[in-house]
Symmetry: C2
Subunit: 349 residues, 2 copies
């Protein structure tokens, strides 16, 4: 507990942005197409960082297998889909490396070496692992790969010599675990062969699903990144607002109102949104008018993404080339890290 | 418990020799030079199998790190020493592949994939892991790599499509764990991409150290494979016999008598050894005469090994070439297995 509190307070000091010398590692598990929650929560800041810092997006297919090896086919299918989503929103493969975890054998080798530096008890105490074990109902049947996934994540982070890792609060224990491993490797090497990393906490609150619950592909409550105008219309119309706000003239609640959450996230005119909030609170603004505005905002955001995605989807060979080139670049870095870590373990003979 | 009993009885049925179609994987942790206990227990049978079956000797340097990452330098130093020992006793690199575990990245990749197929509870129940955790006094501080080493061993075995693994009784749970993984991979692949393996149990009892305790380099009670005549003389003279056998004319005990254990293992004339046992039991055979015979037997065994080892040790480049060629051959096999296993996990995109 106290370690966790410490992690939080340390991370708070570092809520700063990344600077030019930073190396950023981030990515996604390819378990479904990305949606507007991903756009607000991570893709937008990746676009902002692109070109300013060295940045790698890792499509974490092996990590997606750690809690369900049964859905391997689904994971494999989504690898190019996630790459398409990245390219469609404007990730430029000349400035951001896009790589596939399972294609980087050095990451597996780093994982196997790091497993010797971490005790089972330490992994079992990891608050993120504990929470996720509960969430997934594993109880005693935790796959070993799942228990060890903080070690695999440390391999990913150090494999790119990353100094900054964008995470949610719940992932801070992963950063601590990585830095413990970094310090042990440096101690073994008697040199600073790996940099420590710090968390980059997002200031954006998590975007809810249209029904107000956590957005999730399986619940069908997320708006896909390349939603059609019809889908946008249907999903915005279904959005949870304030059940007490029956007539336009009734005063309405802004907090917990999904339409305002989306306007806060995407409306390019925050002053206008604040005025709308005032009018909504006081009574005199109907849900229909409010939703019409949001629909326009979302369509303006999504239309170019949708068009670019459709264009790219017709050229699978290009997407595959992007992944191939990204894997090659990522591999060169990860192999150089592996050489250093092997050296720390006296394995360079 | 019942699973363990089952493992034993199944293995008993299979106490047969390997045949021509078998693929054998065996090897050693490079934590010290090999000694006569290794010769009696494993090297001799590897020489007998050489040329009859496909055989790989894996120098398991990564496995040596799982219970003590602190001794990395010692492990690294012993990799070429173990290779020298193999070559000195007559392992022919043209007929037996000698490879170094940490040089085969496919084995790390297989380990990471297999970790998703095994639960933590299953690893904690593994009798070999339980016994070794106790032996090493790890208690709650088990390195994750140590808990996971049956999975790494499954990667080694399957990485060569091995069908036969020479093991001691205490290692039978490792074979069971490997076959569980094999069956799961084949189920995922909907095809028999990996063969199950069986244990080859040695009929030779474990050779004790000269003091009657378990032979161990750290106790200094083992006779090195390339001992000098002086070392042989000193170690044989120090051998534990029967403390009640004070004068040559006293009756002596053969059981637990280390000199007889070594004569049983190495004297080329078992009939003569049986006659000596009779005389010793009845009284009339002194320890000095007995030890002189053993000294002659051991010197005859060790002299050519010592000479060949000294010759090879002057040509380190040759030893390195042997390892390089062995790693290359081993890599080709392990990479082809990895392709099949990746396919089972739908990771071939």
């Amino acid at each position: 507990m106290s370690a966790n509190i410490l992690a939080h307070s340390r991370a708070d000091e570092r809520r700063s942005q990344a600077d030019e010398t930073d190396v950023i590692l981030t990515g996604d598990r390819p378990t479904g197409s990305l949606h507007l929650g991903h756009y607000a929560g991570s893709l937008r800041s990746r676009l902002a960082l692109q070109g300013r810092c060295a940045q790698t997006l890792l499509i974490a297919d092996l990590q997606a297998l750690t809690d369900s090896s049964g859905r391997a086919a689904q994971v494999a299918r989504h690898v190019p889909e996630v790459a398409l989503d990245y390219l469609a929103v404007g990730i430029d493969p000349a400035r951001t490396t896009i790589a596939v975890q399972s294609r980087l054998s050095a990451l597996a080798e780093l994982t196997v070496l790091y497993l010797n530096l971490v005790t089972v008890a330490r992994l079992e105490r990891n608050p993120t692992v504990k929470a996720e074990v509960e969430l997934r109902g594993f109880e005693r049947d935790i796959p070993a790969g799942f228990l060890c996934y903080p070690v695999s994540q440390a391999a990913d982070i150090t494999g790119f010599r990353a100094t900054v890792v964008p995470v949610g609060d719940d992932q801070l224990p992963m950063i601590e675990q990585t830095n413990e491993i970094v310090r042990q490797v440096n101690r073994l090497a008697k040199a600073s062969v790996l940099p420590e990393c710090r968390a980059l906490l997002s200031s954006t609150p998590r975007l809810p699903g249209v029904d107000g619950r956590k957005a999730s592909k399986s619940l069908g409550n997320a708006i896909p990144l390349s939603a059609t105008p019809d889908e946008i219309h249907r999903l915005v119309r279904a959005m949870y607002t304030d059940p007490g706000h029956v007539r336009a003239s009734d005063p309405g609640r802004v907090e917990g109102n999904v339409v305002f959450a989306y306007l806060d996230a995407f409306d390019p005119d925050p002053t206008a949104v604040n005025e709308l909030k005032e009018r909504y609170r006081g009574g005199g603004l109907g849900d229909v008018a409010l939703k019409r505005r949001l629909e326009g905002v979302l369509e303006a955001l999504v239309a170019p993404i949708r068009a670019r995605r459709a264009e790219l989807a017709r050229d699978r060979a290009y997407v595959m080339d992007v992944l191939r080139a990204g894997n090659e670049r990522a591999n060169a870095t990860a192999e150089s890290v592996l050489r250093d870590v092997r050296g720390a373990f006296a394995l360079d003979a």
